[in-house]
């Protein structure tokens, strides 16, 4: 029995390593091309190791402005999402009304709607109300697109905070607003962190929304500006593209690591991430 278990384990290990290898190849290209002076499209150890690619892309125009735009856009939108979601989750979690259930079901339905499909009318709407090509307008839309899942998650986390703790605050004369800010939110701080990081990472990687709603190059976040590496000249500087992609991906990966540590199994988020 034990020997058979061992053989099975070896077979599973080999199969998993093969899959991991296949998944790793494209990532390996990214890392090695970014430090290769003669980078092409093939994954291989750097032929001429260099940091020149990073030096070349670390300029105002190529990296700093788009990254700052991304930060402004996603940071602002995350702030709006998290605040609105925390506020909305409170009555949904604490009070009862016959509208609670339909509201929650609508929210849940909205989490799975394909946002891509409404971008054409959103563009039309933004042109009408002259929000097109404004960072704050785009941020508001990004915030809204993220809101259903954020409300849903926030409410789930809030349900986990026992009411008795809050009631203690009430007897001390705290208003619902005070008990939300002073008692409930601190108690669910890990949950708030998860919603915040999750929203930010989703927006950071979003390409289609800023691609549609922003027009001038100076406004573009990193997800859109990265396409300028494919200029009109036909020759693409793959090393620099890889270096920029590394810089642009790093915050998302780091934040994910930060959160996945916090939530233990790494997977309380589930459908969240797809929404």
């Amino acid at each position: 029995m034990r020997r058979r278990g061992g053989r099975q384990r070896h077979a599973a290990d080999v199969a998993l390593l093969l899959v991991a290898g296949a998944f790793l190849l494209p990532l390996a290209w990214l890392v090695s091309a970014s430090v290769d002076a003669r980078a092409d499209l093939r994954a291989s150890p750097p032929r001429e190791p260099t940091l020149e690619n990073y030096r070349a892309v670390l300029t105002e125009e190529i990296t700093f402005t788009p990254m700052a735009n991304s930060l402004l856009l996603c940071g602002g939108a995350t702030l709006v999402t998290v605040c609105c979601a925390a506020l909305a989750a409170y009555p949904l979690s604490r009070y009862r009304s016959r509208l609670t259930r339909p509201y929650l079901l609508t929210i849940l339905f909205a989490t799975s709607l394909p946002i891509t499909a409404i971008m054409v009318p959103v563009y039309g709407l933004f042109v009408r109300v002259e929000l097109v090509d404004t960072l704050w307008g785009t941020a508001l839309f990004l915030a809204t697109a993220q809101l259903p899942i954020a409300v849903w998650l926030m409410k789930s986390f809030m349900d986990g905070v026992p009411r008795s703790l809050e009631e203690a605050a009430w007897t001390d004369g705290a208003s619902p607003a005070q008990s939300l800010v002073r008692v409930v939110l601190p108690l669910m701080a890990p949950g708030v962190l998860v919603v915040t990081v999750f929203s930010f990472v989703a927006m950071w990687g979003n390409f289609f929304v800023p691609f549609m709603l922003l027009l001038t190059p100076e406004n573009m976040p990193a997800s859109v500006s990265v396409f300028t590496f494919f200029g009109n000249t036909g020759s693409v500087l793959y090393g620099q593209l890889a270096a920029f992609s590394m810089l642009y991906s790093t915050p998302a990966v780091l934040l994910y690591v930060l959160v996945s540590r916090r939530i233990g199994t790494g997977f309380t988020l589930g459908g969240a991430v797809k929404g």
């Binding site: 384990r9 991991a20 039309g124 789930s156 009411r163």
Partner: protein, 308 residues
């Protein structure tokens, strides 16, 4: 998996509702915090959906002609008669079935099953690599797979090493290449869903099936899969919904080309609405996509409601 499987439950601990003016005022105050979120959702989500339904029936163009007129079902009639639209529907179907239903779902399940048997370091390593592919931003994933599938890219280097003929994958089989890209990017989700679901299957069931002489395949098919069917349903729906709206990944790899051979519905919609300036027509296509998505979302909702 708390989000999708959390059941919709009402808070039964709250105080009963009452009548009277003062109470009504407190009721309003209580629900006031819902305001900002609701306003945003109505303005930027419900608004565009209504607007989508309205302009899908007009001949609105990007040039902003003075008055768009109501054309009824003309846009839809035109779409279903259009070669390009039917091509896009077909490719979307192929893309969804290949990458989401077959690729991500089956590979995710396979990885989750294998991970339960593998040794710890291999398990962590594979998990980390697959999840990294998922966390990397969409367009970066697109570039990575573009490099992988290009004629002078990694895949052909491997086939050459194995003595197999190479080819220009992005030209000969673009839809297959973007489907693989979506598998690469999205499998982590299924893997995590199934890992969570499998960890809840009691070991005794599998062991007793083993004692009864069932082999690993039969155990998986007759014992494990029926027990995790809810996770399978949820996962399939969410994968499909996500795959239906993939834009950036395909845009970064092929822009829908060569020709329109990898132009799924979102890319077709974009081309019609912006390249050809036919907002009305593009919106009609968007509405079709939205309806399909809405249908899947409704099924998903049903699935979750049954768990109450």
């Amino acid at each position: 998996m708390s989000a999708p499987t959390t059941t919709v439950r009402l808070d039964k601990r709250s105080a009963p509702r009452g009548g009277g003016g003062a109470r009504r005022r407190t009721a309003v105050a209580r629900w006031l915090p819902l305001g900002p979120a609701t306003a945003l959702l109505l303005l930027f989500l419900a608004g565009p959906i209504v607007y989508c339904v309205v302009i899908a029936f007009t001949d609105t163009q990007l040039s902003g002609q003075e008055s768009a007129s109501f054309v009824g079902l003309e846009n839809f009639r035109r779409a279903f008669a259009d070669e390009g639209f039917r091509n896009a529907v077909w490719l979307t179907l192929v893309f969804t079935v290949l990458s989401s239903i077959l690729g991500q779902n089956v590979l995710g399940l396979g990885l989750a099953v294998l991970m339960r048997r593998a040794s710890r370091p291999v398990r962590s390593l594979t998990g980390a690599v697959v999840v990294t592919a998922w966390v990397v931003p969409e367009v970066v994933a697109g570039f990575l797979l573009y490099a992988f599938f290009r004629e002078e890219g990694t895949l052909n280097a491997i086939t050459a090493f194995l003595g197999l003929p190479g080819q220009n994958w992005l030209f000969t089989l673009p839809i297959l290449a973007v489907s693989f890209a979506n598998v690469w990017r999205g499998t982590a989700f299924s893997m995590l869903v199934y890992s969570a679901a499998l960890s809840e299957v009691p070991d005794e069931l599998r062991e007793s099936a083993q004692l009864d002489g069932a082999g690993p395949v039969r155990r998986l098919w007759f014992v494990t899969l029926p027990l995790i069917r809810r996770a399978i349903g949820t996962n399939l729906l969410l994968n499909t919904l996500q795959t239906l709206s993939v834009f950036g990944l395909i845009w970064a790899m092929t822009r829908g080309g060569p020709g329109n051979r990898s132009q799924t519905l979102p890319l077709y919609m974009y081309e019609q609405a912006f390249r050809n300036s036919l907002i009305g027509y593009g919106t009609a296509v968007a509405l079709v996509l939205l309806l399909v998505g809405g249908l899947f979302a409704a099924v998903y909702l049903r699935l979750l409601r049954e768990e109450v």
